[in-house]
Symmetry: C2
Subunit: 428 residues, 2 copies
């Protein structure tokens, strides 16, 4: 029998070493999310003994990830107050960067999820060769990294969001059609910053939704802000983010990401999420992908501009938003048509995947007021079933176009929280 030896996605520790790493992660996650907390409180939250937690905390304190603030102030508790644990003021930060079609950006996010530094450069990157674009991006990355270091923080890694297909090496942009790039090795071009970990913008936008979607988005701290993250109230808080959802986003093309049980479904070859090429009308217009009647032929930016009688060009989504806000009836009609096509394609995905919710993210969140009514009409008609109540609703992302940049930084933050001992110890 071909009984596979269990190989779940996340490696299962079966050694003392593996368990120690897992438990260090549980402690750090708990303090980052809910701290400051006493050792006893941490122990009760994660179901380990206080003695076991103390050993783990000592290691995290030695690695300068946690600090002890002194006695925990809580009224109504019995017994000796424990010393409250908090994230170290010199805690690691994730550096995120984004290559957008019309902007470049970088940011630094600490283990609380607070943005500690941010830099943006507007400008049309379509058709520009990689070298000057990546030179500008490297400058932004150095800017936020320097700001973070000046505040005593430790940059722990660099995530980069790109509008294209990324190779399995997480360095090479295989193809970014709207930039006009093919086979660009970002590891080589950004090599004098931190080694980049590159991912598709739609994937990172969905991960941002997973990690931040249940909350208010962290307000940006000014780049000069040296206040330690652990000193004040956490910048974010709120309800639970969904863990099973379809994230639909668009800049020029239409992308999607499927998150199942809190994990991004990447596909066997890493090409999952091509919602833009789901057939809407099988005998519809030819699509450059080789198919016919793909969703992008009805709801992509080019198709919507064409339906609205507008010429193709830059700043497309901004223009559509402005005209729709002004009440332009041709634009609104074009967006209603796009919403219907989105509803048809998303209905298929909902019937197949049964997600908790469908999140409209990226630029689509700005167009939601005009897309949603027709999209929801199709969804209701094609997925509602009295015997299967509680079908997927559509929600609009509160993160919006910031998703890919925040997702890139948070990917680094999550890697630190998931494996704290992987972070280099502080200098000195």
């Amino acid at each position: 029998m071909n009984s596979p030896i269990p190989q779940p996605g996340s490696p299962l520790p079966h050694t003392q070493q593996g368990i120690r790493r897992r438990n260090l992660s549980l402690v750090l996650h708990t303090v980052a999310a809910q701290g400051p907390l006493s050792r006893a409180t941490v122990a009760s939250r994660i179901g380990l003994t206080r003695a076991a937690v103390s050993t783990l905390v000592d290691e995290l304190v030695r690695a300068d990830l946690l600090v002890e603030l002194g006695p925990e102030q809580r009224s109504g508790t019995v017994g000796r107050p424990g010393s409250a644990l908090a994230l170290s003021e010199r805690c690691p930060v994730g550096i995120g960067a984004e290559i957008g079609v019309d902007h470049l950006a970088a940011c630094a996010v600490d283990l609380h999820g607070t943005v500690r530094a941010r830099a943006v450069l507007e400008g049309d990157n379509r058709g520009r060769p990689p070298e000057p674009v990546l030179k500008e991006l490297a400058r932004l990355i150095r800017e936020v990294t320097d700001t973070a270091r000046a505040a005593g923080l430790r940059p722990a890694g660099l995530g980069v969001a790109v509008p294209g297909l990324v190779a399995r090496d997480a360095r090479t942009v295989v193809r970014a059609p709207n930039l006009g790039w093919t086979q660009v090795d970002l590891g080589r071009h950004l090599g004098d910053t931190l080694p980049p970990r590159v991912d598709n913008e739609a994937n990172l936008g969905a991960l941002a939704e997973l990690w931040l979607g249940g909350e208010r988005v962290a307000a940006d701290a000014p780049a000069t802000d040296g206040e330690p993250a652990t000193g004040g109230a956490p910048a974010t808080g709120g309800g639970a983010a969904p863990r099973d959802f379809l994230h639909v986003s668009a800049e020029i093309g239409i992308g999607a990401a499927v998150v199942v049980d809190g994990r991004l479904l990447r596909g066997a070859r890493g090409f999952a999420g091509e919602l833009g090429h789901v057939p809407v009308r099988p005998e519809g217009p030819d699509c450059p992908c080789g198919g016919r009647g793909c969703l992008e032929q009805y709801a992509g930016a080019e198709a919507v501009l064409r339906a609205a009688g507008l010429p193709p060009g830059e700043g497309r989504i901004g223009l559509l938003t402005a005209l729709a806000e002004d009440g332009d009836e041709r634009v609104r009609r074009a967006l209603r048509g796009a919403g219907s096509a989105l509803g048809i394609a998303v209905s298929g995905a909902v019937n197949l995947l049964d997600p908790q919710t469908v999140v409209l993210g990226g630029a689509l969140s700005r167009l939601a007021p005009w897309l949603l009514p027709s999209m929801e009409r199709e969804l209701l008609r094609r997925t509602a079933d009295p015997e299967r109540p509680g079908g997927a609703s559509v929600t609009v992302s509160r993160i919006g176009s910031d998703g890919p940049l925040l997702g890139a930084a948070h990917a680094v933050v999550q890697a630190v929280l998931d494996d704290p001992v992987s972070v280099a110890p502080p200098p000195g």
Copy 2:
């Protein structure tokens, strides 16, 4: 920040007790799949010390799950030969049962994956009330259970496959339209056998593909066969089954199951896999689900019979297969049309999910010769991309209509392999 404390699908052990269970499972999985093996070989395969493995083996021997056969016979090995470990002759078996529209079946499958007993009752169950059907099924279950017990095996649980929607309690059939059942509690009706664990037939068919798909299907042993499973060569063997695939099956309706990284994607409410209601032509014929132009309106059994000019009725898939084999051109044309519709709907799923492969299972595997050419043509056109080579191919299940029954029994077998200490010890 809403950093979730890690909660992957499979619970992560962070206690000694959890690790012990995990490691007992690793040892039992390894011996079931590759045994007989020495303790030293098991230790090297799973990356634990020989001492640790010995402790685990002792526990599995005490629970009568493993036995020691005496010195391992292997030429060319250095040092003292180890004692070979094998599954106990009194090992647990999984009991599977299936409620089909035109048959009832039960079987017993041991930890090697060998079918040790089997019983089938042909007959049309459409419109029959649950009581007499479940009475007949209980008789078949008792028959295979008695046969297994007579061979010294220990029935460890009962899985039941049904052609309908199952509630979260894994006991209640919410709705089985082709049987005409709603809200039937199988736990109550089958209560004097083993407590049943009920699941949808398409889900169990996909799990059978996952567990058995890379191999020859186990040849049935006669019901009177008392030969111990551990005594002879394993009945199955072969290549690796895919771990990321879309399984498409049909009896009357069309179902699908998405398997990602070896796990069945069930959906937030347990309703994933409704490929039959993915829109193929959004302005197509009305579907009883409330939508229009759903896949079932083009590729469901009723639609194919209508397109072939045949009246609806029983034995539909058998009739279509027979006529297509005879060269009936109307039937073949109807099947080509169904294949195209399948190709359009599956293209959308492939673009969204990027599976390794698409498996045609259940009754569709019998119709594959006439469905495949047009289905593959649509898939190639709508999913092939020179920049994303190696798109999903379509494979035909070798398990075919046996999938749900074998999947039901194997679900019990997998539960034993995954948590050996959960099994009751042998009597005496």
